[in-house]
Amino acid sequence: MTGLALLIPLALALGLCGLGAFFWAMRGGQFDDMDGSGMRILIEDEE
C-alpha cells in the first residue's frame, strides 16, 4: 500500500504534464495551421 503514496501522485503529475503541454502548444499557435505545418517541413531553408 505504501507504493500508492508514490504512484498516484506520480500518475497525476505525469497527466498534468501532458495537459500543460497541450495548453502550452495551443497558446503557442501550433494548432493554428494544421495543413500548413505539415507542408513547411518540405520547404528548404536557403541559409
Binding site: M1, L4, I8, A11, L12, G15, L16, G18, L19, F22, F23, M26, F31, D32, D33, M34, D35, G36, M39, R40, I41, L42, I43, D45
Partner: protein
C-alpha cells in the same frame, strides 16, 4: 519561413489577405519568399488551413500595392476585414481546453474507479473516492461551463434545451458522490459525471471545428463587393481609401475592371457598366458624364472619374441590406432537432427520477438510498449518446460534403436542407455560369487567332476575357502587335505588321456579340452565358427527390427564355429583390420549406429569407454570407448531392436517437430497481456513445 527585416522607424501595419489558390508547400515558399523581396514588407506569414496571408508592412505600402505584389507572384488575393473570425476561433479554443481538462480528469478518475471496482475496500476505497472527488469537482466547475451557460440562457428565456438535463444530471451526481465520498459510502459516480462531460465536449468541439473550417473556406472565397477606391485629392495626389472611409464629395477614379465602392455621379469618361450583381440583368449599360452609377456595379471598358454622392449605409445596396436584416429573422426561430428532442426528453427524465425517489421513499428505503437511486436514474438517462447523436452525424456528413465541394456553414443548415421541399433558382450566375463563353471559335481563321488573342488580352471587358479564355484553352500564343489602344464605348484597336486590326462592339441588338476586324474583313463573334454543367441532370434529380424547382430572375423575359430553353422550368422574370423575397414568403405561407439558390446582391434578401439557401463560390460576398452552404466549381450537381447527404444524415440522426433511447429503455428499469452500480453506468454510457459514433461514421461517403 517568416522573414524579418529591421523596421526603419516607420509604423508597421497589419493586413490580412485571402489567397484562395494556396494548396501546397511550394505555394508557401513562393509567396513568403516572394514577398520578402518587396520593399516595405516586414513579415509575411501564410496560413494554409484558412488560406489567409497576414502581412506586416510599412504604412506607406497600400492595399492595392500588396494585392499587386501577390499577383506578381502568381496568386489571386482578396482583402479581408479583420473582424469576426477571431471571436469564433476563440470559441473552438475554449471548447478544446475544456475537452482536454475533461479528458485528463476522465482518465485519472477512471483509473481510480477501476481499482475500486476490482476490489479496493475500506480506507483505500474511501481515499480513492476522495481523490476522485478532488479531481472531478474542479473539472466539473471548469469543463462544465459551456453547458451551464447554455442551460441558464435557455431557462432564462423560459425554454429548455439538451444542456438543461445534462447540467442538472452532472451537478446532482457530483454533489451526491461528494456526499458518498465524505461519508464513506460504497458508490461514487465521479467517473460517470466526468466521462459524460468528456464525451459531450468532444461532440461540441468537433461541431465548432467544423463551423470554423466552413467559415474559413467561405471567407477565403468571398469577393468583396468593393474594398475601397483611389481618391483624387484637391492637390492632385491620389491615395487608396477603404470603402468605409469614403465621404460624399470625394472624387474617385475607377479603373476598367474595378467595382464601384460608393454611389456617385460620373464626372469624366464614358464606359459600360455591368449591373448584374445588383439587378441580375446581364446586359451592360453605357454611362457618360452626369449619369448616376451605383456601388457594387462593375466598370467594364474605360476609366471613370466619379464624384461620390453616397457611401456605406446610404448607398443603393443598403436597401438590400435592410431587407436582408428583416428576412433573416424568420430563420433564427428555427429549433434544432436536438432541442426539439430535449423538449420531450428533459421533462420525462426529470419526472422519472423524481418518481423513483418518491417510490423508494414510500417503500421506506430512507432519504439516502432513495437519492442514490434517483441519481442512478439521472446518470443512466443522461443524454450522453443523445448529445452525440446529432453532432457526430452532422460532422461526418459535412466533412463528406466538404470533400465533394460543398461548404456547409453549420449543423442547423444540414437539418434545414433535409427538410426542403421546394427550390427557387436565380438565373444569371446560378443556373448559368454568369460569364459569357465563345460559341464560334471556328469563325476565326487559324492565322488570325494569335492576333485576336493579343487584342482580347488588352481589355477587361467580359467578352474580351471570354475570348482570351477560349483562345488560351486552344493553346494559342499572342502575336506581337503595336499601337494598342482601348477606345471607350467601342473596343480595342492596334496595328499588326501594318494592318489595322480591331476588336469591338458587334451587333447593336445583341449584347453578347463582338466584331473582330483584321484588315477589311469583319468577323462577328457570338457569345452565350452557358448553363452550368449537369444543370438538367440536377433539376431531374431534384424532381426525383420530390423538390419542385422554378426560376426567379431579375433579367427580362426573352433572355431568361433563351437561356433556359429545354429545361422545362417555370420562371418569373424582371424581379426586384423585394419581389424575390415575396416569392419566397408566398411559398412559405403555402407550407413549403423553400431552398433558395442564388448568387447576386439582388438575391441576398431571398437567400436570407429561404428556409435554407445555397450559393455558388462565384457569388458576391453578400450572397455567400447570406447562404447556408456554398458550392465550389462550375457544376450544379452539388446542390442535389447536398440535399441527398443532408437527408441521409437526418436518417442517421434519427437512428442514433432510437439507439440512445433504446439503451435507456433497457437500463432504466435496472436503475429503478437500484441495481445500477457506477460500473454498470460507465459501461452503458460508453457503450451507447461508441455505437452512436460508429453509426455516424457510415455517413463518410454520404455526398458521393
Amino acid at each position: 519561413m517568416t522573414v524579418h527585416r529591421p523596421l526603419s522607424g516607420q509604423p508597421a501595419e497589419r493586413t490580412t489577405l485571402a489567397i484562395p489558390g494556396v494548396r501546397c508547400a511550394a505555394c508557401i515558399a513562393r509567396i513568403e519568399d516572394g514577398l520578402a523581396g518587396v520593399p516595405g514588407i516586414v513579415t509575411a506569414r501564410l496560413n494554409v488551413t484558412s488560406k489567409q496571408l497576414s502581412v506586416n508592412h510599412l504604412a506607406s505600402l497600400q492595399l492595392p500595392d500588396l494585392i499587386a505584389a501577390v499577383e506578381r507572384i502568381g496568386f489571386e488575393a482578396q482583402p479581408l476585414s479583420d473582424a469576426g473570425s477571431k471571436s469564433a476561433s476563440k470559441e473552438t479554443r475554449d471548447l478544446l481546453r475544456c475537452t482536454a481538462v475533461a479528458g485528463f480528469a476522465a482518465m485519472n478518475v477512471m483509473l481510480l474507479s477501476v481499482s475500486v471496482w476490482s476490489g479496493a475496500a475500506g480506507a483505500t476505497r474511501d481515499l480513492f473516492h476522495l481523490l476522485s472527488g478532488a479531481i472531478a469537482i474542479p473539472t466539473v466547475a471548469y469543463a462544465g461551463r459551456p453547458f451551464f451557460r447554455s442551460a441558464l440562457a435557455a431557462l432564462r428565456r423560459g425554454r429548455t434545451n439538451m444542456d438543461v438535463p445534462v447540467s442538472i444530471g452532472v451537478l446532482l451526481v457530483t454533489a451526491l458522490s461528494l456526499f458518498e465520498a465524505l461519508t464513506g459510502g460504497p458508490h461514487a459516480y465521479f467517473d460517470g459525471a466526468v466521462m459524460l462531460l468528456f464525451f459531450l465536449l468532444t461532440g461540441r468541439a468537433l461541431d465548432s471545428v467544423m463551423r470554423d473550417r466552413a467559415r474559413d473556406g467561405v471567407t477565403a472565397l468571398v469577393r468583396q463587393t468593393a474594398p475601397g477606391a483611389m481618391v483624387v485629392r484637391a492637390d492632385g495626389r491620389s491615395e487608396w481609401v477603404r470603402a468605409e472611409a469614403l465621404a460624399p464629395g470625394d472624387r474617385i477614379i475607377v479603373a476598367a475592371g474595378e467595382r464601384l465602392a460608393a454611389d456617385g455621379l460620373v464626372e469624366q469618361g464614358e464606359s459600360a457598366i455591368d449591373r448584374s450583381l445588383l439587378t441580375g440583368e446581364g446586359t451592360p449599360c453605357q454611362v457618360s458624364p452626369g449619369e448616376a452609377v451605383h456601388a457594387g456595379t462593375l466598370n467594364l471598358s474605360a476609366p471613370l472619374t466619379v464624384r461620390v454622392t453616397a457611401t456605406g449605409a446610404d448607398t443603393g445596396i443598403a436597401e438590400i441590406a435592410r431587407l436582408m436584416g428583416e428576412a433573416g429573422q424568420g430563420r433564427s426561430r428555427y429549433v434544432r432537432i436536438a432541442d426539439r428532442a430535449a423538449r420531450l426528453y428533459a421533462p420525462a427524465v426529470h419526472t422519472l427520477a423524481l418518481c423513483s425517489f418518491l417510490l423508494w421513499m414510500v417503500l421506506g428505503a430512507g432519504v439516502h438510498q432513495s437519492l442514490l437511486v434517483a441519481a442512478a436514474v439521472l446518470i443512466i438517462t443522461c443524454p450522453c449518446a443523445l448529445g452525440l447523436a446529432v453532432p457526430a452525424a452532422q460532422i461526418v456528413a459535412a466533412g463528406s460534403l466538404m470533400r465533394a465541394g460543398v461548404l456547409v456553414k453549420d449543423g442547423s443548415a444540414l437539418e434545414r436542407l433535409a427538410e426542403a421541399d421546394r427550390a427557387l433558382f436565380d438565373k444569371t450566375g446560378t443556373l448559368t455560369l454568369g460569364r459569357p463563353d465563345l460559341v464560334n471559335l471556328d469563325a476565326i481563321s487559324p492565322e488570325h487567332r494569335p492576333v485576336a488573342l493579343a487584342l482580347a488580352q488588352a481589355s477587361r471587358h467580359p467578352l474580351s476575357r471570354a475570348l482570351t479564355r477560349a483562345l488560351q484553352d486552344a493553346d494559342i500564343t499572342a502575336a506581337p502587335v503595336s499601337d494598342l489602344t482601348e477606345e471607350p464605348g467601342f473596343g480595342v484597336r492596334a496595328l499588326w505588321g501594318g494592318t489595322a486590326i480591331s476588336l469591338g462592339r458587334g451587333d447593336v441588338q445583341d449584347s453578347l456579340s463582338a466584331m473582330l476586324t483584321v484588315g477589311s474583313r469583319p468577323i462577328t463573334l457570338h457569345f452565350t452565358d452557358s448553363l452550368r454543367p449537369a444543370c438538367a441532370a440536377t433539376l431531374q434529380r431534384l424532381k426525383q427527390l420530390g423538390i419542385e424547382a422554378s426560376v426567379v430572375s431579375g433579367d427580362n423575359g426573352t433572355s431568361v427564355a433563351r437561356a433556359l430553353q429545354g429545361l422545362g422550368l417555370t420562371a418569373q422574370t424582371s424581379m426586384k429583390p423585394q419581389d424575390k423575397l415575396d416569392a419566397v414568403a408566398r411559398l412559405q405561407r403555402a407550407g413549403h420549406n423553400v431552398l433558395m439558390v442564388g448568387d447576386g446582391l439582388n438575391d441576398g434578401p431571398a437567400l436570407a429569407a429561404g428556409n435554407v439557401s445555397m450559393a455558388p463560390a462565384s457569388a458576391s460576398d453578400v450572397g455567400q454570407n447570406a447562404a447556408d452552404a456554398v458550392f465550389l466549381g462550375d457544376s450544379l450537381a452539388p446542390v442535389a448531392s447536398a440535399i441527398v447527404a443532408a437527408r441521409r444524415s437526418m436518417r442517421v440522426v434519427r437512428q442514433n436517437f432510437v439507439i440512445a433511447i433504446g439503451y435507456n429503455v433497457i437500463a432504466v428499469p435496472l436503475a429503478l430497481a437500484g441495481l445500477v452500480t457506477p460500473l454498470v453506468a460507465a459501461l452503458a454510457m460508453s457503450g451507447s456513445s461508441i455505437i452512436v459514433v460508429a453509426n455516424a461514421l457510415r455517413l463518410r461517403s454520404a455526398a458521393q
